[in-house]
Amino acid sequence: MFLTFITFLPFVGAVFLAFMPKENENAIKQTAVAVALTDFLLSLLLWTNFDNTTHKMQFGLNIPWIEAWGINYHVGLDGISLLLYVMTTFLTLICIIASWDVKKHIREYMMAMLALSTGMLGVFIALDLFMFYVFWEFQLVPMYIIVGVWGGPRRIYASIKFFLFTAVGSLLMLVAIIWIYFHIQQTTGVATADILYITEHLDVSLDVQKWLWMAFFLAFAIKVPMFPFHTWLPDAHVEAPTAGSVILAGVLLKMGTYGFLRFNLPFFPQASYEFVPMVAWLAIIGIIYGALVAMVQEDLKKLVAYSSVSHLGFVMLGIFALNPYGIQGALIQNINHGISTGALFLLVGILYDRRHTRLITEFGGLAKIMPKYTICFMIAALSSIGLPGMNGFVGEFLVLLGIFQVNGLWAAFATSGVILAACYILWMFQRVMFLELKNPKNMELKDMNTRELITIVPLIVLIFWIGLYPKPFMNTFDASVTHLVSKVNPDNFRPHQEHKSDSHGEHTQLLTPNEMASLNHKLQMPNKVLIKE
């Protein structure tokens, strides 16, 4: 019940806002913040009460919903979804504070934000395919409205593109969901769409697995977005209002990666294994392509948007390493990307609010007049690059470690993404912050005010927290990842045996499940190494 309460609290808040007088803007904003804050604090309670030692679903609730079809309202959190859940409430709060200066239709804006929050939270807790689909599609609408109403000049084009891209992918997933539903009904005699039950009982041939896998893949790959399905992302990001971009990068894209972990891997382990090379290459193309395109962008926001494509490539690579390092890295990188890219979008938004332009050439020398801003920007930028001691490093390191065990070549390509990231971020940083302060319009720029600091500082704290002491985060999903890998990849096999000699010697043999356990024990290793830094 508690989980349900937290999930629907924002929606109730949105309905409540609908009855508030439009004129009283301050009261509307304060109510929205209060709701989001309460929701965030309550979700922290979930985290503190979470039992790290098990992969089982917690805070569960399972009541019949559409009995005629055997569809239940089944919710729960495990290690994979918990952090994403907490991050959603956290970023919603940050975004609502960051949207203080929205001028147009503030009440509707806050309502859309809160409704969006419920939609996203629902995606992460749903343990019934039907219910998952309902939330998955539902959250499109508030996001569509946020981009379309409060966005930039090309907002209508961008919002419709966003909606249609996602809809096409998810509708094909719907077909796969229905197919699975009937298949389960035929083979086990139980009419259910329960995700846990299906994970246990779905038994289909490899060919069928591949088709179903493709259907789910398309839905999630568009959402992530993976190359070549990424074209909606730069449009949506650039046109969305600042808070919309933060939510988009921080949570919506994570729904795609979450989908891979929750559905593709456990439902179709063999197919996932078969498709590893394809996904890996697409991810690598995404990493490098995203970075190269980011490098030539003239618009700050577009640059950050393309860097998202690159970063998410890392996450995908980590997931499809199909080993504990990779998946742990992917999960932590999920969070990292939300934090550092979120911070970058917020910072770009702060600049845009002052100058109403985001062109890099318009700026230069801002360090002299906006010192606080420059420091914050620097931290976020370095975290995005993956500087040791900051969060990005932990994630990228683990992902690379994981993928290196699979294929050294892939790891080499992926590493080049890190280097390219340093190029585009630092180059941009140099052009905006250093050089001469030439543009007269920039002379009078004010540094960050308290409200803006309130939105950025928590993110910076997290950047260092995860960078220096990731253990509390890693521990949450340890058991779940171990369980997932033991299901998907029981032998923890290496697809490319010829690279055996390149990778870590002791890990390259095919491991039995028993040996897996000992391997998982060693997983604590990277944490310890990192803590020392």
Partner: protein, 478 residues
């Protein structure tokens, strides 16, 4: 032909809804003579009549009950359909009252026509004999021809009526010819006897029978406005008075689908290899032409006409699947379609004023900030029509697609979902106008209570069927 009425099979209780409604319809005609200009009484009588009809439909126990020499049946399908018909006719009447007053439509026969049309629909959904089906179709069609042209002084309305009549008469000809050929080659007009006869392998290759089947498809295809027999729909939808448009895109269409389903699922399941492909092509064409056509429209009634063509395409999948799950899906789909459609047309009516109907999409610019509740309702209806959860349209589509997938119609379902994605484009276009554009002119909305009530019913139905569909699904799937 065998004698149609064998005395022992006359069952007036089974026929009760038809009788009750006919009596009320005639009562309305008579009251119109006495009541003069007071139309409230007519409306009230009609509504009571519809309510009584719905109740009397449940008089027959146990179901399924066959009477009149197996030409009339009370079964699950027909009962549920009668509920849909009476509901949609009642909503249509509620929508009409204020609209007619505004547009100066004073004809008292308006209500009687809707009731008689409903009688025809009930006959259509309950008939298991070709002759009865033909009678039902004719009753429905003739009432609709008149209703479409009831705004006598409006040239669009006249055009709609004339077009509908000419093409409709033509299509009825096809239908009748098809029935004749089927009768000629099977020796019966009764669906069960035909089914019995068709089991015989030699009958299955009879060219006359197959020809008859094709003609039947053409006839029904016209009545449900599927491609390539859809040409009339946009013009008639646009020209007919808005409540009539709403009415005919729900009730008569549902009735035609009921008959369509009955004929093909009960009489010709054995022949399905020969008609499945043809119907699939028609379904796919309807989806594409409907959706792509709707994208081009700027007039909201024309857009809805094309959208209804695409929905006919989706619903045809139920006929192709022809399982019991498909019949339940058909019922659920038509019910949720009724809520969405009446809601949406209610909003279209509210936005219009006498003489200026405000049917262009641009008339909706900025509506969300002047009348947020109306705009939100409109958004709900549009998204639900597109099939977005958590609204009725999604559950309906889920149901329909499930039925189709169960029968292995995977390709068809994939085409259908891609079409749903296309349809979002034009449904969202209206949302774009309402939420993302500035108002062009002052809104002069006439918030009339009865129309608002219909919209409210639509919203409640759409949300309720989307979030708590269990009860209705249980009812639909017996």
């Amino acid at each position: 032909m065998e004698p149609i009425l064998a005395p022992e099979s006359i069952d007036l209780i089974a026929l009760a809804p038809v009788l009750v409604l006919s009596v009320f319809a005639m009562m309305v005609l008579v009251l119109d003579l006495w009541g003069g200009r007071n139309k409230t009484l007519l409306m009230f009588t009609s509504l009571v009549g519809l309510l009584m009809t719905a109740i009397s439909a449940f008089a027959k126990h146990p179901i399924p009950a066959y009477s009149f020499n197996d030409s009339y049946v009370v079964d699950h399908l027909s009962l549920f359909f009668i509920c849909i018909f009476t509901l949609s006719s009642a909503l249509a009447i509620l929508l009409s009252v204020e609209y007619n007053e505004r547009e100066g439509i004073r004809a008292g026969e308006y209500y009687a026509l809707i009731l008689f049309c409903t009688v025809g629909m009930i006959l259509l959904a309950s008939s298991t004999d070709m002759i009865m089906i033909f009678l039902g179709i004719e009753i429905v069609s003739i009432c609709l021809y008149v209703l479409a042209g009831i705004r006598r002084n409006d040239h669009r309305s006249n055009e709609a009526a004339l077009k509908y009549f000419l093409l409709g008469a033509f299509a009825t000809g096809f239908l009748l010819y098809g029935m004749t050929l089927v009768y000629g080659s099977t020796g019966s007009t009764n669906l069960f006897k035909i089914a019995e006869f068709v089991k015989n392998p030699s009958a299955q290759t009879n060219p006359l029978l197959l020809m008859g089947l094709v003609l039947l498809i053409i006839g029904f295809g016209f009545k449900v406005a599927s491609v390539p027999f859809h040409m009339w729909a946009p013009d008639v939808y646009q020209g007919a008075p808005t409540p009539v448009t709403a009415f005919m895109s729900v009730g008569p269409k549902a009735a035609a689908f009921a008959a369509f389903f009955r004929v093909f699922a009960e009489a010709f399941p054995e022949l399905s290899p020969s008609w499945e492909l043809l119907l699939s092509i028609i379904a796919v064409l309807s989806m594409f032409v409907g959706n792509l056509g709707a994208i081009m429209q700027t007039n909201i009634k024309r857009m809805l006409a094309f959208s209804s063509i695409s929905h006919a395409g989706y619903i045809l999948m139920a006929v192709i699947a022809k399982s019991s799950l498909a019949s339940s899906a058909l019922l659920f789909y038509m019910l949720s379609y009724a809520f969405m459609t009446f809601g949406i047309f209610g909003i279209v009516i509210i936005l219009g004023r006498k003489g200026e109907e405000n049917l262009e999409m641009s008339n909706y610019s900025g509506l969300a900030y002047k009348h947020p509740v109306i705009a939100l309702s409109m958004t709900i209806f549009l998204l639900s029509l597109g099939g977005l959860p958590p609204f009725a349209g999604f559950v309906a589509k889920f149901y329909l697609f499930s039925a189709a997938i169960q029968e292995g119609l995977l390709t068809l379902v994939i085409i259908a979902v891609l079409n749903s994605a296309i349809s979002f484009y034009y449904y969202l276009k209206v949302v774009v106008f309402m939420y993302m554009k500035e108002p062009e002119a002052e809104f002069k909305i006439s918030l009339t209570p009865m129309t608002l009530f219909v919209i409210l019913v639509g919203v409640i139905g759409t949300i309720n069927l989307g979030i708590f569909p269990n009860a209705i699904i249980a009812l639909a799937s017996h």
